[in-house]
Symmetry: C2
């Protein structure tokens, strides 16, 4: 879960191609679990829809409506899973979306 592994998502195999093995299924499920939370989806969406392409964590707490530790926690999970990248500048943490990671997940869900 907290593995921070480089994701393969059974590259280029679709769900209908042939039956998923347990290991591949666990890996895909882990990736999906990361996005299967409203707070994380909104964070990813906020960062991805930012005009400048990046967003400061300090600007995400209030609109998300959750505590600062909770936001920090979710952002870490998104970074560990590769959906966001983090850059620390001064005392601020800036996040950018990693569209290729999302595309990788999307392609793993091809029918």
């Amino acid at each position: 879960m907290t593995t921070k592994v480089t994701p393969f998502e059974g590259c280029c195999g679709s769900l209908a191609a042939d039956a998923l093995g347990e290991a591949d299924a666990v890996e895909l499920a882990d990736a999906l679990k990361v996005l299967a939370d409203p707070a994380r989806l909104r964070l990813l969406s906020m960062v991805a829809s930012s005009a400048t392409g990046e967003a400061c964590a300090c600007d995400l707490v209030e609109p998300l409506g959750r505590s600062q530790p909770t936001v920090s926690h979710h952002l870490s999970i998104l970074v560990d899973a590769g959906f966001l990248s983090r850059e620390k500048r001064g005392k601020w943490a800036w996040y950018r979306a990693v569209p290729e990671r999302l595309e990788m997940l999307r392609s793993a869900l091809r029918a």
Copy 2:
């Protein structure tokens, strides 16, 4: 969770278009939660990759390596979420994939 609602998945809006509201995020997250489980991913994959386009529940228990009640439980969740359709024939339950449902999810994850 057990809502069996017709899914919209915020039709035609992408994650990066603009920031997801809490309600849309909950709906998308609920759909992702359904697939964020190895057992359900494998069941969906088994049915989708079946040569005949359908699969009997009786043939899914053993390859999945989980108990019959557990398999039945997961299949119900997939049906309720619209990823599978169920047809009862005699004493057997036959399942078919619903590719449009998966495509709906995939498009909601557009970057």
